[in-house]
């Protein structure tokens, strides 16, 4: 049984790699456009950093967090978001897949629907943003002044894992809603782009209500605020470092909603 499951997982992974390779072959048809978009993504993301920089240049600290501390928080979030976007981009544009009837085709193929949707759109130009995130991450970690120990390193890795899963989950949530309505999906951007924008700063600065929302509804604080306290040595509760795993758990309800949505699917037009 496990051997069979293993075989299937390997085959799914191979198929995903095949999708990546096809996307690579596709973008190579338009070399100039590819590189310009990569550079564009890099610069746009750099802009976000400048926003943080100039704010602190003027105010010094926000709600007791110093520039270095916020920089660490920002760089972690950016890396998580970029990874999530690279992986789950197909969900982000899922509404157009439904509109154009592309999802019909997905359902006529003997493979996992999630895998096929993921493979349908892999934005390789996001490499620009990922690269920028990598630079920020190195800069953020080196400037943070954190005294590193084994537990804190593990915490950072869990944050990256949980955060990436959380963003993938939000994209999946967005896609699941497309099964019920194709109108007014813009509000979902509050969760995706909004999380990216507001996630630059530790969630606590937005007040108690926001903190509750980000702990219990969309568990953003679990991958960001609480483990950050561990890294910065602001809490004795080292187990906060395990909270990012909540990001992985978040995938479960999102996946269930997706499954429900597929059953509810009404294909478009003729």
């Amino acid at each position: 049984m496990t051997a069979k499951n293993n075989d299937r997982n390997i085959s799914e992974l191979r198929l995903y790699v095949h999708y990546v390779s096809l996307h690579l072959r596709s973008v190579m048809q338009y070399k100039a456009s590819f590189w310009m978009t990569v550079v564009g993504q890099f610069l746009v993301t750099f802009n976000m950093f400048l926003g943080v920089y100039f704010l602190f240049d003027r105010f010094g600290s926000v709600e007791g967090f110093t520039y270095q501390e916020v920089l660490l928080c920002f760089s972690l979030m950016l890396t998580e978001y970029s990874l999530g976007e690279c992986i789950a981009r197909g969900f982000d544009s899922f509404d157009s897949m439904v509109r154009q009837g592309e999802f019909d085709r997905v359902l006529t193929r003997p493979r996992s629907d999630i895998l096929q949707v993921l493979g349908s759109k892999i934005e390789l130009t996001r490499v620009g943003r990922l690269l920028q995130a990598g630079v920020m991450f190195v800069y953020g970690v080196t400037r943070s002044g954190v005294t590193w120990n084994a537990w804190r390193v593990i915490t950072v890795l869990l944050m990256l894992l949980g955060g990436t899963a959380l963003f993938c989950g939000i994209f999946l949530l967005f896609a699941s809603i497309c099964f019920y309505t194709l109108e007014g999906l813009e509000f979902m951007n509050i969760l995706t782009d909004g999380a990216r924008e507001y996630g630059k700063y530790p969630v606590s600065i937005y007040g108690r209500r926001m903190m509750q929302f980000c702990t219990f509804v969309i568990p953003y604080a679990l991958v960001q605020y609480y483990p950050l306290l561990v890294l910065l040595g602001r809490t004795d509760r080292n187990w906060y470092g395990l909270l990012p795993l909540g990001g992985l758990l978040f995938l479960l309800p999102c996946g269930a909603l997706w499954k429900l949505g597929v059953r509810h699917y009404q294909s478009a037009g003729s």
């Binding site: 085959s11 191979r14 198929l15 095949h18 999708y19 096809l22 072959r25 596709s26 048809q29 338009y30 154009q100 009837g101 592309e102 019909d104 085709r105 359902l107 006529t108 193929r109 003997p110 493979r111 096929q116 059953r263 699917y265 009404q266 294909s267 003729s270």
Partner: protein, 262 residues
């Protein structure tokens, strides 16, 4: 064998009058109409049959195809395709069928057709020997040759449709669903597509279910027709049964549509 028993399917359609005020109103309270797409549909199709599924626009043709190919779940009724219920055993089911949507492409736009085919090989986990044999056969029968090395965006519609057909048959499906496969094609391409489908049915015994508005397709390919209108099966029989002495097929079908007021 395909068995459809008492299949019903309804859609909810949001309706509102034109205008901004109406749009704003429907934002808060939306009115839905229920539209019946299929109303107790029954039929049986045996292995190796060629069936033309005809009816006016909006009669329920595509809905039937989508239920049979595991895309839609009906509201009620029973459907068995070679013993499988399409929407319950989706993955097992779709491995055995091929679907061609005339209006939509399954080829990757920016890469040579051969690249799309190789992705399909991995999606269907087609064994290498079978893949090569099928590809060789399809290349010859559909004269694909150089087309395989051309990006899909640079193919003419006729060339693309030949590639679409090949793409849907690489995994040797037992049943082939064709949803308007000749739409928009020129005379030469239409004939090529028709001849290919007939040959496929003869040599491999593939069951073919075809929806089309082109009655010459029906005449060339199918031995049996099922007529659907307003979600009900109105007629199920041989082509000769409905044709009255020497009339051409378009007139026959037009007379049929009129007589059933659909």
């Amino acid at each position: 064998m395909i068995v459809m028993r008492n299949i019903c399917k309804t859609y909810k359609v949001a309706r509102r009058n034109a205008g901004l005020a109406e749009a704003a109103r429907s934002f808060f309270r939306r009115e839905y109409d229920t539209v019946t797409a299929l109303d107790h549909v029954n039929f049986t199709i045996h292995d190796g049959e060629t069936v033309g599924y005809i009816g006016p626009n909006g009669a329920g043709k595509s809905t039937t195809i989508k239920i049979l190919s595991g895309i839609l779940t009906p509201d009620s009724g029973e459907c068995l395709v070679d013993g499988r219920t399409p929407w319950k055993n989706r993955i097992d089911h779709v491995a055995q069928i091929g679907v061609v949507f005339g209006q939509r492409s399954q080829l990757w736009w920016d890469v040579p057709v051969a690249d799309s085919f190789e992705l399909l090989r991995d999606i269907y986990s087609i064994p290498p020997a079978l893949y090569k044999a099928n590809l060789d056969e399809l290349t010859e029968l559909l004269s694909l040759g150089e087309l395989l090395r051309t990006p899909a965006r640079q193919l003419s519609l006729g060339q693309r449709m030949r590639c679409e057909l090949a793409a849907s048959l690489l995994h040797s499906p037992r049943i082939l669903f064709l949803d308007e496969p000749t739409i928009g094609l020129d005379a030469v391409s239409k004939i090529a597509v028709r001849e290919f489908i007939v040959k496929l049915n003869q040599t491999h015994g593939t069951t073919v279910i075809l929806t089309t508005h082109d009655m010459q397709d029906i005449e060339a390919i199918t031995k049996r027709i099922i007529l659907i209108g307003k979600g009900r099966i109105l007629l199920d029989g041989g082509l000769d049964d409905i044709r009255r002495g020497g009339e051409d097929i378009d007139r026959t079908v037009a007379a049929l549509y009129r007589s059933y007021e659909i």
